[in-house]
Symmetry: C2
Subunit: 433 residues, 2 copies
């Protein structure tokens, strides 16, 4: 068989050789826009990049030096597939702040919590299996679920997070249709993108419903310690050890550049996660793991989180007051933690078709459609307030307002705002996390 | 559906929820042995851990400090899914030593080359597709191929590497059987575990055969720059840009603790690899990537490789002379680079069943069966000479000789050496890479 017999094209001689799933992998048009959006003159309200400038870089640099000089033969070597035991012990201290009691053996260290998402999906999902996820859901999770050929069914939220009665009805309906639901994917705290938090009252209700339907809960919790006004809520995992896989991350409470996250899972599941991780990457980076461990050992990490909370609260406030001043026609939630404001545009506007015009006006956001598996949600946009300074945020929202005003004018004259978006769902891009 | 209706057991309530592939993921009995083998009193000739003690840790520590202090806002932040552009440019300099000419756009940085293996397998393999791999093959590759539900067919090697006529016959036979061969997996230089190198004469022959059969070549080359006696051979990728995906790694030429490897692929394939990598990990670690880039920029990395080559040659010599002295009944190749000696045991001995007795005698190796998809190869063992000092290597081989002698005595008396091994193929463990 020659290459051309093999279904090759002049553009891609291996086109005929891909796995079925790979044909679904396409770079979206939004990706090209983001290359433009990352230029310094554009105010990016799009990415979920934390404010690294708030870290004590001099101290961290000194720490990295000591780490390599004193423990280099471990830090620069291969490590265990499950992750460094000392770090796994420190991770217990972090999770204790949300009421989780676990053993270091229950923890699997991963290359960011994105890898944990991939591993869980890997071990549970056969093509066509159903994952129930909030509407909307984190774009990077939808990307993994799609790459692993899952069917995603959304369940609705309100200001208190996932609605238990609706979740129950969704699971009952799917069961009636003979569908195999493998897990519920939920971001209970300071949701990405919706900004809401699952209320304390609803937490045991969600767990009871999932238990009753035999559905595992995948609790993704990168933002739980970043509340602005109160102590963290107890994690779902703190209420149910056997029914929940918990995912944590140092990307938002310390720094994403080390790519260190983790999963906590029931014993037998944890064992499979380790085997799947070894197939995927052999072992997580010892250099990164020991850096995080050293940071937790020798720095006031809780003080740093407190400082981040204050910085992000100030940025949240800047975002909300700028919205009130410049785009009063829109509606939004006021998140009490995390990175995101979820904005509903005025009637008739389409966030996806408006995006190129926004970037021309030197401001970027993520259109709501990225957070729905079916491309709905174009009436929403996600504004991230984590990265730009308050002044830049105000300038960004002001620019955004000029675009919204022009769109509204177009709608008033022509009855539609433009070309309309496509239904493509993006693969997760690092800028979208 | 309750959890117990769901097929759960008291040991694993989620047993009924796993994906089909996850049921194949089991920790082997060898894993438990390796926990014992990592004790300091055991001489490990098992792991492929490089000799990190040979690195200038003080200088690298100082470099890490400067990196965080001067470029912390980049090093500690999320990066691009494809990897840092500056590092991708430096990677071209590394590959130029093996005659590869490429563009930074062709390179995808991965979390060790293990992740590159996983990504390539992800985008090309539907369950049941065939991968042709050398007999024997790297255990970590077999682990990925199995986790991705590929069928592996081995093709034989001799002292000059893969045998072209046998490869051609294998591909022809598979075609006749209507099997879909997606790629050839090959480690052309200082093979793991066989220690052999594909001769210069055979390289274009292998490429021509694969091209004729429409089969992609996956060239895995972690050891290419670690030859003891001569300059590197030209890479397969240097002879064929469209037909080869090349995998490289800094784990053996610098340090594995950063987990940085890379893939070079034809344009359209490279694009899918990036999308698959973003789904799996969002982006590789900026801290690790910038550390490698800084190392390549500011250190005599080629001098360091030369120093590694000398150290590993000395260890190879220690291994071979100890084998000659202590286990003359066995046969082996004399590798002219890399990390491994592939030893054929005397008639009647089984490396797998002998392993527990070897560990009791405080020496560890990897049984040959780990490197075959069907568990054959129990008459071989892999001895790694990369990690222990020459004195420790001699002591390890001496201990091994006592076990071999006792086994031979048993065979002489009873006609068999023991219990026999099982057919389980291991998942890759970090200690086995």
């Amino acid at each position: 068989m020659s290459i051309s017999d093999n279904g090759g094209t002049r553009l891609d001689p291996w086109y005929g050789s891909y796995a079925a799933r790979a044909h679904e992998m396409r770079a979206s048009e939004i990706r090209a826009l983001f290359a433009v959006a990352s230029r310094p003159e554009v105010v990016s309200l799009a990415g979920g990049m934390p404010y690294i400038g708030g870290l004590p870089l001099e101290e961290i640099g000194e720490m990295m030096k000591r780490l390599v000089v004193e423990q280099g033969e471990v830090a620069l070597q291969y490590g265990s597939g499950q992750g460094d035991e000392g770090l796994r012990e420190r991770i217990l201290d972090v999770m204790a702040l949300e009421g989780i009691s676990a053993h270091p053996d229950d923890v699997v260290v991963t290359t960011g919590s994105q890898q944990a998402l991939d591993l869980v999906t890997n071990i549970f999902i056969d093509p066509g299996d159903v994952i129930v996820a909030e509407a909307p859901s984190y774009v990077g999770a939808l990307g993994v679920f799609r790459a692993r050929e899952a069917t995603v069914v959304h369940a609705p939220m309100d200001a208190d997070g996932l609605i238990p009665s609706e979740l129950d009805a969704t699971l009952t309906r799917l069961k009636g249709e003979g569908r195999r639901v493998k897990f519920l994917y939920t971001v209970p705290n300071f949701h990405n993108p919706a900004g809401v938090t699952l209320s304390l009252e609803r937490r045991p209700q969600v767990l009871e419903i999932c238990r009753r339907h035999g559905v595992l809960v995948l609790e993704d919790n990168p933002y739980g310690l970043l509340g602005f006004d109160r102590e963290p809520m107890p994690a779902l995992r703190s209420m149910d050890e056997e029914g929940v896989i918990y995912l944590g991350s140092f990307s938002k409470t310390f720094a994403p550049g080390f790519r260190v996250g983790w999963a906590v899972a029931p014993h037998a599941v944890r064992e499979k996660l380790v085997l799947a991780s070894e197939a995927a990457i052999l072992s997580p980076s010892n250099a990164s793991q020991l850096a995080i461990r050293s940071y937790l050992d020798h720095h006031d990490w809780q003080g740093q989180i407190k400082s981040f909370r204050e910085q992000y609260r100030e940025r949240r406030d800047a975002t909300i007051s700028a919205l009130q001043e410049h785009i009063p026609e829109a509606t939004w939630n006021v998140p009490d933690g995390g990175f995101y404001v979820w904005v509903k545009l005025p009637e008739g506007l389409d966030a996806k078709s408006m995006l190129p015009r926004a970037i021309t006006a030197r401001v970027a956001y993520v259109a709501g459609s990225a957070f729905y598996i079916d491309g709905s949600g174009t009436d929403h946009m996600r504004l991230s307030f984590c990265y730009p300074t308050p002044d830049r945020i105000r300038e960004g929202v002001r620019r955004l307002a000029t675009v919204v005003d022009a769109e509204l004018e177009t709608v008033r004259i022509f009855g539609t705002s433009g070309t309309g978006g496509t239904d493509t769902v993006d693969f997760p891009a690092p800028d979208l996390n």
